[in-house]
Amino acid sequence: MTALTVTESATRKGHPAGARRRSPYPAWFFLPAAIIYGVLFLAPTFASLYFSLTRWTLFNSVFIGLENFVQFFREPFLVQGLVNTVIYAVITSGLKVMLGMLLALLLTSNIIARGYLRSVVFFPVLVSTVGVGITFTVLMHPTQGMINEGLALLGIDGPGWLTDPRLALISVALVDVWKGVGLATVIYIAGLVAIPKDYYEAARIDGATRWQNFWYVTLPLSRPATATVIILSFIGGLRTFDLIWAMTRGGPGFASDTVASVIYKQYQAGFYGLSTAGNVVLFVLIAVLVVPLTMFLNRKQGHE
């Protein structure tokens, strides 16, 4: 693909090589962006590869090989953070895909109060994550919280959403879905609206049921939207920090720690090398999971 673009560019160049006329599209337009991005994003990323192999105090660093990584995969609470991160990403992206699709179907059907419903579902996307986190921490309070008081009215004994180590991570993931499903919904709406009506017409003539309509027309043709929602929310889920930090700080114990919260905790504790190793682990985790996922989702998309 790279080679192809290069040859294409060579043949398309406007001016003959001899004429040194200045291009109206000067390459230095890249410079301001490139400097900021290069210095503040790329350089630290490369530096992290080295510093993750050191014991580091910011002033001096001692090369210790892979010790940080060994520690990362041996300490049970660090391993749990790694597992939690994947669980969190799978739960949030899975639920966002399903609920986003359902809501988009509902909001593109001829239902009353569509505008109101779209706004209500989308608004949480724009609200401060920390604000949402604190609000739900209060709503999820085991005895006084509104959620459990509501459940009590129905005769259900609500669990300790954030205090039960088995539930804490899932509770935070559910709040993440609450906040993020609006984005998935609008992406799906954009995808559904783009499906040509002819397909449904043809399906109707063939006598397709509503379920067949969905399964054989809507679902395959909204695949680009599905790919986008999955990839976006999966990356977001793997990198998540603010919501976890606002709601549980990784607790109770280490039950809801993710790699991102581990990075912050190790940074606070002054273990800079270990924290940076966490960064590299997260980077590798994202690359290993997201790149094949993207390729898989886009390969199917290519058939259209």
């Binding site: 673009t5 290069v6 398309r12 200045r22 291009s23 109206p24 599209y25 390459a27 337009f29 890249f30 301001p32 962006a33 900021i36 991005y37 210095v39 503040l40 994003f41 350089a43 990323t45 530096a47 992290s48 580091w56 910011l58 509902l106 001829n110 239902i111 009353i112 109060a113 209500v120 579902v121 724009l126 609200v127 401060s128 994550t129 920390v130 604000g131 604190i134 709503l139 006084q144 509104m146 609450w178 984005l183 939207a225 986008t228 976006l232 990356i235 990198r239 606002a246 991102a260 990075i263 940074y267 800079y272 924290s275 940076t276 960064n279 590299v280 997260l282 980077f283 690359a287 997201v290």
Partner: protein, 275 residues
């Protein structure tokens, strides 16, 4: 199909959505109106007395007017980083869409990398300390620019590709230099996508919590999201004040939402689908 279906379904949807999405916001507002004792019950009840004004005054004056400082900091941060983002991203998008060079594949790769790779926090801090940018507001501005450039570039590139080249060529024939072509011909034409960019990035940067937490420590430097975090422990028993603060920092996104709903949705879906 009968007409009853959509109406019944619609009413059900309204009730459920109100329960799921509006009740939490109503809870924030109600709690912000309560006095301390009633707020401590964490109930979804009507305020016994209306104390919004007292709560507001108390939240705003706490810790030597920290919230005011924070709002000023957040405003400076948002306005300056979005300004830089718009200009720099448009420049990159312009060249990327117009000039086929051997740098393009590399730039494309870096854009994707920027969307995916989590920033390496401690090395960034180390580097910023070396450059004298750590703990400075302008340092955080540059960080926000660096982290959000890829998304803005994607938005711009897609849009610039739809602007006919003949426009630049006409300007060049009229003797315009590259900078004139860009700033006087192209940039004004990009207004719709610039609005989208401004709106989407402003909301994101205003709501950013993680980067100020790492790169801008210290009470004097707090941004609005950090006040919430700082007050969380201080207002442990004063939920009325905590929720007054949440209410306050929810207002700017709400205003943006009311006026620019369409642009936000357009930007987020366009950028997302292309990305």
């Amino acid at each position: 199909m009968s007409k009853a279906g959509p109406i019944v379904g619609g009413i059900a949807a309204i009730v459920i959505s109100a329960l799921v999405f509006l009740v939490p916001f109503a809870f924030i507002i109600l709690t912000a109106f309560k006095d301390r004792a009633q707020a401590a019950a964490l109930d979804f009840t009507w305020p016994a007395s209306f104390n919004l004004w007292t709560n507001l005054v108390e939240v705003v004056t706490t810790r030597n007017w920290m919230l005011v400082t924070a709002f000023i900091n957040s405003t400076i941060l948002t306005v300056s980083s979005v300004t830089l983002l718009v200009v720099f991203a448009a420049m990159v998008g312009f060249i990327l869409a117009r000039r086929k060079s051997r740098w393009n594949p590399l730039v494309e790769f870096l854009i994707l990398a920027g969307l995916m790779i989590p920033p390496a926090v401690v090395p960034t801090i180390w580097l910023m300390q070396g450059l004298g940018l750590f703990g400075k507001l302008h340092g955080l501005v540059l960080i926000e620019v660096a982290y959000n450039l890829p998304f803005s570039i994607i938005l711009y590139r897609a849009f610039i590709a739809t602007i006919p080249r003949e426009l630049d060529e006409a300007a060049i024939i009229d003797g315009a230099r590259p900078l004139d072509v860009f700033f006087r011909v192209i940039l004004p034409l990009l207004w719709p996508v610039t609005v989208t960019n401004i709106v989407v990035q402003s909301v994101g940067i205003f709501n950013d919590f993680t980067n100020p937490l790492y790169y801008l420590p210290g009470n004097q430097n707090a941004t609005v999201q950090l006040t919430l975090y700082n007050f969380q422990s201080q207002f442990n028993t004063s939920y009325n004040l905590l929720f007054t603060n949440i209410l306050l920092i929810t207002i700017p996104p709400l205003i943006v939402f009311l006026f620019f709903n369409r642009q936000i949705v357009a930007g987020m879906t366009a950028g997302a689908v292309k990305g």
